[in-house]
C-alpha cells in the first residue's frame, strides 16, 4: 500500500498508509466530538480532508474564489524576534506590502494591557503615525493577561500558589479582584487607541489565565461597545476550552469554565465583539491528520452557530499547525486549505 508523507504535531515526519490516514482522521474527529459534545465530521468532510492530506504536492491551497481574510496578530513583535531590525511602522508596511496581510496589528513588546497603561500616551502617536502611512485596517492589540495582576507582578495574592495549597476561597476572591482591575485597564487603553484612530481593538490570547481572563475580556468588550458603538473589537482565544481557575464565574448567567468554541462565540457576540478568533490546541504526540480532523470538528461546530465573523487561529501550535518555530509549508498549507474549505469561517 502506498505511503503518504505526514507529520506529528511537533513537526516530526512520518509516513502513513491510506488506511492509517483514514483511521487517524476518524480518531481525531471523534475525540473532538466527544469532548465538546458536537457532531463528528461527515463522510464527505473526511473524504475531502483525506484528499488534501494525501496530496502528493508540497503545497495545497483553497480553490480560487474561496479565499478568506488573513489577519495577523503581534506581527510587529514577530518580525523583530527573527532579528529583522525594523521599527514597528516599517514592520506594518512590510506585512501590508509584502506579506499579503488583509489586516495588521500594532502592539507593544509587553503585549499586555496592564503595562500599556503608563505608556499609552507614547503608544498613541505611533499608532497615529502608522495610520497616516498605511492602507490596510490596523488593530491595536494586547493580551488581558490576568496573571500580571497577582503577586509578585500585581497587588493580589497569586491564585497559582493558593490553589495547589487548597486555599480555594482566597484564590477565588483574588481572581474576582483581578477581573475588576483588568477591565479598567483594557477599557482605558482600548479607549485611548480607538480615539487615536485604530480600526479595531484586539484582545488576544483571551482565557490564558482561565475563566477570570475570559470574563474580564467580555466585560471590557461590553463597556467599550457601550462607550463607542461603532468600535470593532476582536476577541482571540488562548486555548480550546476555558480553564476553570475560579470555576464559578459567569457572564450574564452563563458559567464560563469549560466552555468550548461554539459556546464561547455566543458570549463574544453577546458582549458586542465584532470578530471572534477561536483556538484548538495542537497535540504534539498525535499526527497532523488526527490534529486537523480534531481542529476542524471544533471549528465547524463554532462556525455553524456563529452570528459574528470568526477567524480561527492558525499560528504555531494551534489549528493543527505543528508546535515548531518554523512550521513546514506542507503542514501549514494543508491545515490552511482544509480549515478554510470545510468550516464556515471568515478569516484566519
Amino acid at each position: 500500500m502506498a505511503k503518504i508523507f505526514s507529520r506529528y504535531g511537533d513537526g516530526t515526519p512520518l509516513e502513513l498508509d491510506e488506511k492509517e490516514l483514514m483511521e487517524e482522521l476518524h480518531a481525531g474527529t471523534e475525540d473532538a466530538a466527544d469532548r465538546a459534545k458536537v457532531s463528528t465530521l461527515t463522510d464527505d468532510d473526511l473524504k475531502h480532508l483525506y484528499e488534501i492530506l494525501a496530496s502528493p504536492y508540497k503545497f495545497v491551497s483553497v480553490e480560487p474564489g474561496k479565499e478568506v481574510l488573513l489577519t495577523y496578530d503581534a506581527g510587529t513583535l514577530k518580525i523583530r524576534r527573527v532579528g529583522v531590525n525594523v521599527d514597528r511602522i516599517q514592520a506594518l508596511q512590510i506585512y501590508e506590502k509584502i506579506m499579503g496581510a488583509d489586516t495588521m496589528e500594532l502592539c507593544h513588546v509587553d503585549y499586555s494591557y496592564k503595562p500599556l497603561k503608563p505608556i499609552v500616551t507614547m503608544e498613541q502617536p505611533i499608532l497615529e503615525q502608522a495610520l497616516l502611512s498605511t492602507h490596510i485596517p490596523l488593530f491595536y492589540g494586547a493580551m488581558p493577561n490576568l496573571g500580571l495582576y497577582s503577586q509578585p507582578d500585581g497587588p493580589f495574592p497569586n491564585p497559582a500558589e493558593l490553589l495547589p495549597n487548597g486555599k480555594i476561597k482566597e484564590a477565588r476572591e483574588s481572581l474576582e479582584q483581578t477581573v475588576e482591575e483588568a477591565v479598567r485597564d483594557i477599557v482605558f487603553a482600548g479607549s485611548a487607541m480607538y480615539e487615536s484612530g485604530a480600526d479595531g481593538i484586539n484582545l488576544d490570547s483571551v482565557g490564558a489565565a482561565g475563566d477570570a481572563d475570559f470574563l474580564a475580556s467580555l466585560m471590557a468588550t461590553k463597556k467599550l461597545k457601550e462607550k463607542y458603538p461603532d468600535i470593532c473589537i476582536e476577541i482571540g482565544m488562548a486555548g480550546e476550552f476555558i480553564l476553570g481557575m475560579h470555576g464559578e464565574l459567569e457572564f450574564e448567567g452563563t458559567r464560563l469554565a469549560g466552555l468550548y468554541a461554539h459556546d464561547q462565540v455566543r458570549l463574544a457576540a453577546q458582549a458586542g465583539a465584532t470578530i471572534f478568533g477561536p483556538v484548538v490546541n495542537t497535540n504534539t504526540t498525535e499526527t497532523s491528520a488526527w490534529n486537523l480532523a480534531r481542529a476542524i470538528t471544533f471549528m465547524k461546530a463554532c462556525g455553524e452557530v456563529a452570528e459574528i465573523p470568526i477567524h480561527p487561529n492558525m499560528g504555531m501550535g494551534v489549528g493543527a499547525v505543528p508546535v515548531n518555530d518554523h512550521p513546514p509549508i506542507d503542514s501549514v498549507s494543508r491545515a490552511s486549505a482544509a480549515m478554510t474549505s470545510l468550516v464556515r469561517l471568515d478569516g484566519l
Binding site: 503545497f59 495545497v60 491551497s61 483553497v62 480560487p64 474564489g65 474561496k66 479565499e67 478568506v68 481574510l69 488573513l70 489577519t71 495577523y72 506581527g75 506585512y95 501590508e96 506590502k97 506579506m99 499579503g100 496581510a101 488583509d102 489586516t103 497615529e128 495610520l131 497616516l132 502611512s133 498605511t134 492602507h135 490596510i136 485596517p137 490596523l138 480607538y194 480615539e195 487615536s196 484612530g197 485604530a198 480600526d199 479595531g200 461603532d230 470593532c232 465584532t274 470578530i275 459574528i308 465573523p309 492558525m314 499560528g315 499547525v321 518554523h326 512550521p327 509549508i329 501549514v332 498549507s333 490552511s336 486549505a337 480549515m339 478554510t340 469561517l345 471568515d346 478569516g347 484566519l348
Partner: protein, 104 residues
C-alpha cells in the same frame, strides 16, 4: 508560516481587495462572503476578481485607493483611505479623526 497562509487561503491584502473586504467586515460586521459581494458591487467587479492582482491593480489605480507599487501623485496612506471611505461608503475611524484634527 504567514506567507504560507497568505498563499494557501488569504485574499492577498492590497494585491487584491483583502484589505477592503476586511474594512467592510470590521465596519459593518458582515460575514466575509457578504462583505466580498458588497465590495465587488461597490468596485464594479465580480467577486472572483477580488483576489486577482492583475484586475485589482487596475481597479485600485483607477479608483485611487492605494496600490502595492505607488505611482507618482497617486493617493497613499491616509489619502487613499479617504478614497476608500468614499468608494465603499463605510466609516473609517482614522479618516474621521484626520478630518476633525485638520479641521476639514
Amino acid at each position: 508560516m504567514a506567507i504560507t497562509h497568505a498563499h494557501a487561503s488569504g485574499m492577498g491584502g492590497m494585491r487584491g481587495a483583502g484589505d477592503l473586504v476586511a474594512r467592510v467586515q470590521m465596519s459593518k460586521g458582515m460575514r466575509t462572503w457578504e462583505a466580498k459581494q458588497y465590495v465587488a458591487d461597490k468596485l464594479g467587479v465580480a467577486v472572483a476578481e477580488l483576489t486577482d492582482p492583475v484586475i485589482m491593480t487596475e481597479v485600485r489605480e483607477d479608483m485611487n485607493i492605494g496600490q502595492i507599487t505607488p505611482l507618482p501623485g497617486c493617493a497613499k496612506g491616509i489619502e487613499a483611505k479617504f478614497n476608500i471611505q468614499k468608494a465603499l461608503d463605510i466609516q473609517i475611524n482614522c479618516v474621521d479623526r484626520f478630518r476633525k484634527r485638520a479641521a476639514i
